[in-house]
């Protein structure tokens, strides 16, 4: 499984803070994003930042391992 986390404005748009997605061999970060966009179009429209296992990632072609933790995040507004 892949654990997907949502925070702040994205969690507000999805109505949930996390979802689990079945891992499919060869799945990429971009593929996961497209799949979630079909389910949560408004939320994923806000997702300009991404993290895999707590590290910033920009490359949508990144393959995702099973048991990855992926966060799709809106632009930060701390401070």
């Amino acid at each position: 499984m892949i654990k997907v986390l949502f925070f702040g404005p994205i969690a507000a748009a999805t109505g949930v803070r996390d979802v689990s997605v079945m891992h499919v061999p060869g799945v990429t970060l971009g593929g996961l994003k497209e799949m979630l966009a079909a389910q949560y179009p408004e939320a994923m429209h806000l997702a300009t930042m991404m993290a895999v296992n707590g590290e910033h990632v920009r490359d949508l072609s990144l393959p995702l391992a099973d048991n990855s933790e992926v966060a799709f995040m809106a632009k930060f507004s701390g401070g």
């Binding site: 702040g8 404005p9 993290a51 707590g54 995040m73 809106a74 930060f76 507004s77 701390g78 401070g79």
Partner: protein, 141 residues
């Protein structure tokens, strides 16, 4: 002594943080600080409270990395960063950054750099709660 980098619900003491920074080295000749606090007015609206959400584990590791990067980049003797989450009211403290160096220029530049980088790198989100409703904040440049 408290950790140099923290994310916490409760308020912090600037005096305690500065004392902890000073205690780290007697070579410190300059300390610069930044205190971010909650405004009760934003974009023409009264703001009654500000609520923060964070990707806690990543935010803490990014803040740790930010502190290490600043120490290396500006040759600091030490630095501290504290960010609050949860809900705060107008006038409350939000974030405190302190940079200590042998001389003032490095401390001042590092302090400015850390708050700017924090806004870009650290997964924390702010929601303004107003009498007209709640809205997530769109970052300012």
């Amino acid at each position: 002594m408290k950790e140099a980098v923290r994310i916490q619900q409760e308020d912090f003491s600037q005096d305690e943080e500065i004392r902890a920074l000073q205690a780290s080295s007697k070579r410190m000749g300059g300390i610069a600080t930044f205190l971010g606090c909650a405004r009760d007015f934003s974009e023409g609206r009264e703001v009654s409270e500000i609520s923060f959400d964070a990707y806690g584990s990543m935010a803490l590791s990014e803040l740790d990395r930010l502190r290490s990067d600043a120490i290396e980049k500006f040759g600091l003797l030490d630095a501290r960063i504290v960010h609050r989450i949860g809900t705060v009211k107008g006038g409350d403290n939000i974030v405190f950054i302190a940079a200590g160096a042998e001389h003032r220029v490095a401390a001042l530049e590092a302090c400015r750099w850390m708050i700017d980088e924090l806004k870009q790198r650290v997964p924390i989100w702010k929601k303004e709660i107003t009498p007209q409703g709640d809205s997530w904040v769109t970052p300012h440049p």
